[in-house]
Symmetry: D2
């Protein structure tokens, strides 16, 4: 083909002069290679990535293909030198976005990946349980980059209210009382300061120990019974799950600063209703410490 001057329509002036808060791509799938400090294992995370910058009122469009190239560059590098954390990949992308989009004052990257963690089941057998990793980073041109790491964990809640009502209806003082229980999905996200380290596996541990009971892939009959008993010994509202997670976060991360963001969300697929129960706390470590 002849030498052609390829037009750059995005760079032309905009007709309608309004700033755009976020412009970019959603749902790009990439295989990201991660190797945690202290671990010898390289894991390949199938990751869904969103990447945004802002756009000044004066410019027609954002060069989205640059987002894709930047992601492909870093992901390719990760094949040889695995990244040490998904949130650090997001933070690097934020910095690169601000370099490549010189008109942008803000950049944001979100990533979501399937993640498997080997855990010991009730029978002592080790098995890989499925989770989701969530990472985010946000940066301003004239400021630093803030990054968060999070996990989405499935567990079980047993309702303390229905348990006491059933106890009253049955006229029983003692013993283990039935209640409704259900699948619960709880998300914990925590900000990771520049020179700090937060292990996703620790977050999973914090959430999983805050349910009425964790759940398992493999459960033999006796172990199924044990999970039911444990859940009924620890009946919990979604509010209780959120608070227990918050409590453990405060204890575990004493060294993180007061302005560290913490987000906890818990949603139960109520067995006795067709809708879900939900609780959420969006806060900082400082507020929690007061």
């Amino acid at each position: 083909m002849r030498h052609t001057s390829i037009p750059d329509v995005q760079a032309s002036p905009s007709n309608i002069k309004y700033r755009i808060t976020r412009v970019g791509i959603k749902g790009m799938k990439k295989l990201v290679y991660v190797k945690r400090p202290g671990s010898s294992e390289i894991i390949a995370l199938p990751t869904e990535i969103d990447m945004f910058v802002d756009l000044p009122a004066s410019q027609k469009g954002s060069h989205m293909s640059r987002n894709v190239e930047l992601a492909a560059d870093l992901v390719e590098i990760s094949r040889k030198r695995p990244v040490d954390a998904l949130e650090n990949l997001c933070a690097s992308l934020v910095k690169k976005l601000l370099e490549r989009h010189d008109y942008a004052t803000f950049a944001e990257v979100r990533a979501r990946a399937d993640y498997f963690l080997e855990k010991e089941g009730l029978s002592g057998r080790r098995e890989e349980e499925p989770y989701k990793l969530i990472a985010e980073a946000r940066g301003e041109r004239d400021g630093g980059v803030r990054k968060l790491i999070g996990v989405e964990v499935i567990g079980m809640t047993a309702c303390p209210c229905a348990m006491e009502v059933v106890r009253a209806l049955l006229g029983k003082e003692e013993g283990m009382i039935p209640t409704h229980n259900q699948r619960n999905t709880t998300t914990l996200m925590i900000e990771v300061p520049e020179d700090a380290d937060v292990e996703a596996n620790d977050l999973i541990e914090i959430v999983e120990s805050s349910f009425s009971s964790p759940t398992y892939g493999i459960l033999k009959r006796k172990e199924e019974g044990e999970v039911v008993i444990r859940a009924h010994e620890n009946p919990r509202f979604v509010e209780d799950v959120v608070r227990d997670v918050l409590n453990k976060v405060v204890e575990r991360y004493r060294d993180l600063p007061d302005d560290t963001m913490v987000i906890v969300r818990s949603e139960s697929e109520e067995s006795i209703h067709k809708y879900n129960a939900f609780a959420e706390r969006v806060t900082t470590l400082g507020e929690l410490r007061r």
Copy 2:
């Protein structure tokens, strides 16, 4: 605009000569007006419709816009003269599809709608509970049209196995024993012969009475306890739900012929696992009567 001869690319011969089993549209949303025989109420069902015909090896394409026009015609008519059943709308569409696509030997229409049914709750208060209606019709050019009506119902199952294991672990002989319970979604579809009538509301009643317990929008504390107690008095596997539905179908539809298709599917969002339990029976009334 000048008189233009609009080309009909679909009608041109195909280069690669293979028959197409199904070709058409998926996910068209329409508001369908329904009035059941014997009822004075007209309900407007927001309905998602799929419409397919087959295509002979010799022809390049199917005229999908005809599908859309046919649906729009019948739906428009339903605004003045409501259809008496969603499956009859599907059957009419199948006949029209075979008329308008003279090259087709087969036609299929599926519809899925949000549906609300007023029911009496445990407190005696009447409330609208949400369901899904599912209708299908299939026809061959040289044969009749077969049609099905179905419902998707959410309820609650309590596990009979874990209950007995917990009983053994607790060393109890008597009394109400905890078990894991969860949200279950069960679908029942049944063929409706040409001159027969099957009420979707009856199908909902059949499914809802086959769970460990139905679930409700409004439950005061005492009623929550009653639902839990009822569920624990009726522990059921997904297999039990399917069989109970089948049993009631056989009893309720004694007049329907042996070749009437029956499909039952039950899926439980297991509270103690991260995956679902599932059971299904695809059969005919004749097989069930044996």
Copy 3:
């Protein structure tokens, strides 16, 4: 049953003393009856509702069943006296939530409904096109209630950049040039001040006229060509769609105050990529007027 004192576990003191930002129910389905001022038509909207309040650190749980009862009450009333707008139902629910949960300082209600609007197609034939209505209301105990109404609209975008690149590659100066085009979903939400009125149908009109072309259920062959031509005469980035919507909002709602919230989001299912393009502006009318 004997007289039983039904325990109120929610009202008991919490062991772990953290405030909960939001607690309540998600995904409750209700049929809401709406009649717009000036219209004689009552429409039944199948609506999915979320309802939240906050919870003080001192109290164990929120009484979620009150949320459900409140919704059922208002929805039941709407069967006899239809609500005049979905956002007003949300605002009423916010007020009732603050009354019934005397420990709450904040309440939030979100609703999402299937909505059909009759429009004239290119052939002059009138047809119902599908949309989504979105309504929200938020209130503080010692402040007013703010409410938003929004619409989600599907249309078509054609890429202006690829069009110019193709023009250069083909070495053509004139004529209609191909480009990639795709399905786009755009959401517009706008705050409705206490004594103002915003018509959802106007919002639909604003969004639909901001695409490269609206899309239609019924299109005969000639009309398909006309839609393609219109889209290629109006190539637009997602950024352009957002800005065009903002521009029309500023023009249409001159009477609304400066602090009126406006949110526009546009997402294109890029035909040449496996991921989506996205643009968003979250702002106020005041900022837009500057």
Copy 4:
């Protein structure tokens, strides 16, 4: 805990005597390690697995925990000795299911995995593109096991009909004419006979070359133009995509027997409509060869 006899409720006789067609688990997530013959690379596939057997009328329940254990066993083995194909894992699971459920006469396993394949883009740069792998196996106790491997691929279709209509409306004889184009998802599944080998990468190649154009993660501006041009040089209905895939399957798999099952499905997210276009062929190689 004392020695307890753990009850086996599933093994007890059923009260309601109907056979169950399929009973088992859905949506279990596992990380499966695969190493293709001839390749040195081990890939870890995050896989969603469904496992079913049938259940005789006489028995109350199926022992679903055995399904989970069998899957965990084979997946654990795959960590040391990677499986050579996902469909072979399914076939092994079918055989194990029939062994462990001695009451079953039928077993079925389905698996679905995220999959990334490195491909050369238009600029010569290699990049990993995302796909889905689908595998199935079905077996009867007194017969063999049939297994299928499949791929789900995203690409682009440009409509040949609207192109010709636009040509007529514009009164042009020559040159490249705009049309509507969109994201298309096409699935190809093919049976793999016992002693044969079908490469998923070949299936991806077959599907990807049957679109109007493949799509890419990274496209610089010039390459975006080239994709648009290629798509407009190859306008295709969903019917055309299905037939082109079938043609390539017949050519590529001359050695496979006549009873080899072939399934092709193609769905376009029509840019000019709010619903999708769909075509499907379910057939055998023998039928296609006639």
